[in-house]
Symmetry: C2
Subunit: 191 residues, 2 copies
Amino acid sequence: MVRKIAERGDAIPALAEIFREHGFAGASLSEITKRTGLGKGSLYHFFPNGKEEMAQAVLDDVAGWFETNVFMPLRESEDPAAGIDQMFKAVIRFFHSGRRVCLVGTFALDDTRDRFASEIQSYFAVWTRVLAAALKRRGFDTRAARETAEDVVAGIQGALVLARAHDDSALFTRAMKRLHQRTKGVHRDRP
Amino acid sequence: MVRKIAERGDAIPALAEIFREHGFAGASLSEITKRTGLGKGSLYHFFPNGKEEMAQAVLDDVAGWFETNVFMPLRESEDPAAGIDQMFKAVIRFFHSGRRVCLVGTFALDDTRDRFASEIQSYFAVWTRVLAAALKRRGFDTRAARETAEDVVAGIQGALVLARAHDDSALFTRAMKRLHQRTKGVHRDRP
DNA sequence: CAGATTGTGTACCGTTCGGTACAGATCCTA
DNA sequence: TAGGATCTGTACCGAACGGTACACAATCTG
């Protein structure tokens, strides 16, 4: 009757999706048991601190994914342009071309932020910092690199909001293309 | 014992703030009664359909504010640059320099969007459209106007996310300055 | 195979949830 | 000042909430 198959990590993708869809407050235990396939017993065995610990685990998982697939390429690519290319590829893949929302952004907007302030803060801070460094290596001066990095990270978050508001993933990919272009230096709005 | 002072509209600013802070799911009736000062009786007298109707009223109110303070200036200013100036002034004021979150953006991100899909969609659609028209009048060609408008609206939403993540309103005002600059035409990232 | 460790289902806890019912207070109109 | 319309506090509802307790099953270790 009992399945011993489950590991803690197996639940995390489902948990992530639930928090993305409903936010922290809206993610109910009943939905969590349903979608993870884990009963309350297992859930509280793996996450003794309940929902908060589940969300924490998801945030860690996201941070790890970004570290590997976004930050590391930005830091370690010999050619900074290649690192930035990889960043955009990874972002488009991770957010399912705008059909998937940013969990950290969602948490940042409501009072959930207070529970996970440092994780949320560092997610964006690290992203902005490593992107700015890559832009600098690419020839941007310090100030322009920092500003452009901020604009790009904000632009991605904003594009996710708009894409979801319009239920239009093409909007997202178009926005990514333009942001990518901006990382290449002088940019004209009026051709 | 009973105060007859209350009008439906009096509750809306408090309701808006509550939904901004907690999202739709997280906004509990107990907090709503506390912060509006209205008992359940009054609340359900003014909003027979409960929370959903309260949120609807708040969305209408926001739409009205933007119509007056953002969209109308963009549409009707003789000088489109002046209209855009007014837009940024209004946005900075409305969002309290980034200390206040966008209610519509918050709703857009989680499953609350499904309840208010058309209101959310049209908020962003109208904004983008009237801004693009102003940019066109300012000399942008059709395509650049549309793209820049999309980038600016997304940029504002993203800046709100980042400002709140970092609890840093200066980040928001800086971002607004740069977005404003972009509405003035050719733009350089690498000076 | 014994015994600890790990994982799981179920019943249950008190609390809070959104929402309803309704008597009565207050206000508006005439 | 009468009487209807509008507003409000309170008591209450069933359901769902997050979380706990615990017996027991599966697995791992020796």
